[in-house]
Amino acid sequence: MISVEGLTKTFDGYKAIDNVSCKIPEGCIYGMVGSNGAGKSTFLRILTGIYKADAGSVSIDGKPVYENPDIKKNMAFVPDDLYFVNNSSMNRMKKFYAGVYENFDRKRFDFLCSAFKLDPSKSVSTFSKGMRRQAAIILAVSTRPKYLFLDETFDGLDPVMRSLVKSLVCKDVEERKTTVIMTSHSLRELEDTCDQLALLHKGGLIFESDIANLKTSLFKVQIAFVEAYDKSRFEGFDMLHFSKSGSVSNIITRGDRAEVEERLKGMRPAILDILPLSLEEVFTYEMEALGYVFDTGILEKEGE
């Protein structure tokens, strides 16, 4: 299990991670979302022992990670900005990995190279962006990690490869109880893959929740009344968003769906529809509630 307590990391006075605490259970696929610069990559780098936290602690299986090869040998990290030795091929990288990861599985490496149709003797520098990511994922999973950290997991991968990578990850989780921590801006992908989701914003952990809970605890309400009304009519609801067009209002609210529905019906609306939200909508509205909102209309003013 990964246990994070009061984690804080500062770069030149800027708090990239601010007092984050969480627990990631074993065998779980833990997704992390957040705006650009929210601290996801920094968080992963602290979890993998690359960065040392300024305050707080990270422990994996009860042991600290930083400068701890015993823990690191069971971990593999695929960062957003990939690294391969200059002019190296995957075979060359295999030697590197095999030299430092004692669990490196050469057979699995060879198998995955053929499964992903990558030529291991070709220089990685000739690979496309997606192929490089595939190569990095193959190398990482060939170390047979107990903990797999994937930053911007599906960046550059085509839909077929995304599916293949998802299957590969899920297989490891299923067969070897691998714990996977992944970040992605593709909420659709995370929605399909993850058991748990965490939202980071400005270095802080806004929430973490099971995917199922998350989707049921936040929902969209379309409501209209015969008489005139405004936002104040919904005081007492945990609203993330309110917009009104004519007499119909769109409300994003949090809470127990049955309870909310009961209360709204009690207000005798002319129209009442309660709709589920996609994960992307959940993310957008949660971020909006935190003030992370950009008016797309501003782009229309360009050139005026």
């Binding site: 770069f11 690359i50 040998k73 990290f77 960062p79 900005d81 030795v85 590197f96 030299g99 990861y101």
Partner: protein, 693 residues
């Protein structure tokens, strides 16, 4: 223990990454090991081909030449290998990658460092084997296992030193440019600062000896600075001392580098330095050095104003002082601009500028205080326990080693009083600080009270001669300083002209010199012959053991102090010619030029004259008069002593400086003269010659 202190996987990875540089280094050094001895073989064999004695004696291969070649490894390939091996530290993605793998920082550092070291060793050992084979195959060049070992150890020590320097430089910074810059700062600045401090002290406190310390610092404690000194023409010695100190310094740097690496954060990549504080210190260092030089010039300025108000260049010192101060501030900002590449960073660095100003000002006052204390010292004879003559300026470099072995302490109160009196007058500036013809610069150590004071004092020759005799007697020279038996390593330099002696003549001459010195117990005295009286020099090459110098050359002057040897030399080298023939030879040519030195020895003094003589000289007749005087009042072939003149001369064609005439092109003569003849002879010498002094 696996991966605790060393990671074999990482070692092999680093080894693979260094393959191209490593192989290139090996190939280049192997080429040098083939071509350098081949070149030496060609040039030396061509030069000595007509001299049987040399031809039969294969020339010793000078390790310095190979050490110069080895500098490629130390100064080019080791830094390149270090930069390649640790290049991952300069990019975020690579740095993160390395810090994510299950290897702790220290074993990572050790493993990569070992890969660099193994390639360096291969660059030394493979070419060394090639060099051994080459020297075995070449007829005029040979190399001993000892020389190879010394070169190898020196190159290795230099490599370890450079590795150490770069290990800190790379660990402290986060870009390729700053890696190199910081490494250069670490390598050069402490040395440059030391030079600056010593030079300032030595120039302000003129009687404080700093040359010895500078020499120790450069020639004996570091292979690279030793090589720089060698390249500037100073022969010096190549031994294990430089190996020890360079390697020790390198190992200390490697340890410091390891500590810094261990604490280095992954996020340092692409930043100019480890932390803001480190950046402040780094930009301060070059600026401080420059400021110190400026402070030195200001110190000279105030010092010259104090003692030499009339010296016209005092204002130059003030000007240079101000210029260096300004450059110091400029350097401070330039460093920040070049490394941080942000104008905002330059503006922010203004905050620490007062620290630089305070540091330079503090240095000025500390140096002022130190030089004041040095200058304020006077020898208090009541408290002096002894005075030791540590160095005498005209002692040859090689002979200084022998001098250093002696007990040179003076306890005699009479001599202590005299030296104290001379020094104290010097320090009071009541006497000129520069040596005159009759004084010799000596470095002394004064044991006064509980302290030892090193100072420079200009001792009159008559007094120094007495002191040397006393030391000579005290140490029993001949017992400890017998000349070695004749060997092939002994040769004669005639100093002037091209008189060639056969091997047997050289041997006879050497044996005569050895016997004469031992009989008269005056080796030290002979060594201390002023160069203007040297007619020839007998060089004795002596091989010492590994702990000491690899090669030692004594230059023993042949002069009036060794009259028998001089006589023998005259017989061997004189070629039957005399002054008359010599002048005739010049007169018969249109473009001949000649030089002649004449030592005139009377019972009271010895004078040295130097004469330039050329065809068509108006006073050619005056030289002929000299010959007539010798003919009339003199007797040729006697031993040098009171009432004798010693002459040597050579003539060459003016258009071809190196082309000597044959036949009467040189002569060596010793004549005894009657008092009357001596009077006339000196009169003409004074008229046509120039005093050496």
């Amino acid at each position: 223990m696996k991966n605790r202190v060393f990671s074999s996987g990482l070692f092999w990875e680093a080894f693979r990454q260094l393959k191209i540089v490593g192989i290139l280094g090996c190939v280049i050094y192997v080429f040098l090991c083939i071509f350098v001895p081949t070149g030496i073989n060609i040039s030396e064999s061509a030069y000595y081909v007509n001299v049987g004695r040399y031809a039969s004696d294969a020339l010793e291969f000078m390790p310095e030449e190979m050490l110069l070649a080895g500098i490629f490894i130390s100064l080019i390939f080791v830094p390149v290998m270090m930069l390649v091996a640790f290049q991952f530290l300069n990019k975020r993605n690579s740095c993160d990658f390395y810090h994510a793998i299950p290897v702790k920082r220290l074993p990572m550092y050790m493993s990569i460092l070992l890969a660099v070291l193994v390639w360096t060793l291969m660059m030394i050992l493979i070419p060394a084997a090639v060099l051994g084979i080459m020297c075995g195959a070449l007829p005029y060049v040979h190399v001993t296992a000892r020389s190879l070992l010394l070169v190898g150890l020196n190159v290795l020590a230099a490599a370890v030193f450079v590795m150490g320097v770069f290990s800190i430089g790379i660990a402290l910074s986060g870009t390729l440019f700053t890696n190199i810059l910081v490494s250069l700062i670490i390598m050069l600045i402490p040395r440059l600062l030391f030079i600056a401090y010593m030079t300032i002290i030595g120039n302000v406190a003129v009687y404080y000896p700093v040359d010895g310390m500078l020499e120790l610092f450069f020639s004996k404690t570091n292979v690279i600075s030793r090589l720089i000194v060698f390249m500037t023409g100073y022969e010096g010695e190549l031994g294990l001392t430089t190996v020890f100190f360079s390697a020790a310094e390198g190992i200390i740097y490697l340890v410091v580098g390891g500590v810094v690496f261990n604490h280095r954060k992954s996020e340092t990549a692409q930043k100019p330095s480890l932390t803001n504080r480190v950046q402040i210190i780094l930009r301060m260092i070059p600026a401080y050095l420059c400021g110190t030089v400026g402070a030195g010039f200001l110190l000279y300025y105030f010092n010259y104003r104090k003692y030499y108000v009339s010296v016209y260049y005092e204002k130059e010192y003030l000007f240079f002082g101000i210029v260096f101060m300004a450059v110091s501030i400029l350097l401070y900002f330039i460093y920040e601009l070049l490394t941080a590449r942000k104008w905002r960073a330059v503006l922010k660095s203004f905050k620490q500028l007062p620290v630089l100003v305070v540091l330079v000002a503090a240095t000025f006052f500390v140096l002022k205080f130190v030089t004041y204390r040095i200058e304020a010292y006077r020898i208090d004879t009541d408290e002096v326990k002894y005075i030791e003559i540590k160095e005498i300026s005209y002692l040859s470099e090689d002979f200084e080693k022998e001098w250093d072995k002696l007990d040179r302490k003076i306890y005699d109160s009479e001599y202590i009083d005299k030296i104290a009196d001379i020094y104290n007058k010097q320090a009071d500036r009541t006497e000129d600080s520069y040596t005159t013809a009759d004084e010799t610069q000596c470095e002394i150590s004064v044991k006064q009270g509980g302290a030892v004071y090193n100072r420079i004092v200009y001792i009159p020759d008559y007094l120094l001669s007495d002191i040397i005799d006393m030391i000579d007697e005290h140490n029993g020279w001949t017992a400890g300083m017998k000349l070695p038996e004749y060997s092939a390593g002994i040769y004669l330099d005639m100093n002037m002209g091209e008189a060639e002696l056969s091997g047997s003549q050289t041997e006879q001459l050497y044996n005569c010199l050895k016997r004469e010195i031992e009989e008269n117990n005056n080796l030290m005295n002979v060594f201390m012959t002023d160069w203007e009286y040297e007619i020839a020099t007998m060089y004795v090459n002596q091989r010492l053991d590994l702990r000491d110098s690899y090669y030692l050359t004594y230059g023993i002057p042949i002069s009036y102090k060794t009259p028998e040897t001089l006589g023998l030399l005259s017989d061997f080298a004189g070629g039957g010619e005399n002054l008359e023939d010599f002048i005739t030879a010049i007169g018969e040519c249109d473009n001949a030029n000649g030089e002649m030195t004449i030592n005139v020895i009377t019972k009271d003094e010895i004078e040295a004259f130097w004469v330039n003589i050329y065809s068509g000289d108006d006073v050619l007749g005056r030289y002929a008069e000299l010959a007539e005087i010798l003919d009339k009042y003199g007797q040729k072939g006697c031993a040098a002593g009171a009432g004798t003149v010693i002459m040597k001369g050579y003539v060459y064609l003016e258009d071809y400086d190196d082309y000597y005439l044959t036949g009467s092109d040189y002569f060596y003569e010793v004549y005894s003269l009657s008092d009357e003849g001596m009077e006339l002879f000196k009169e003409i010498c004074t008229e046509i010659g120039e005093y050496w002094d």
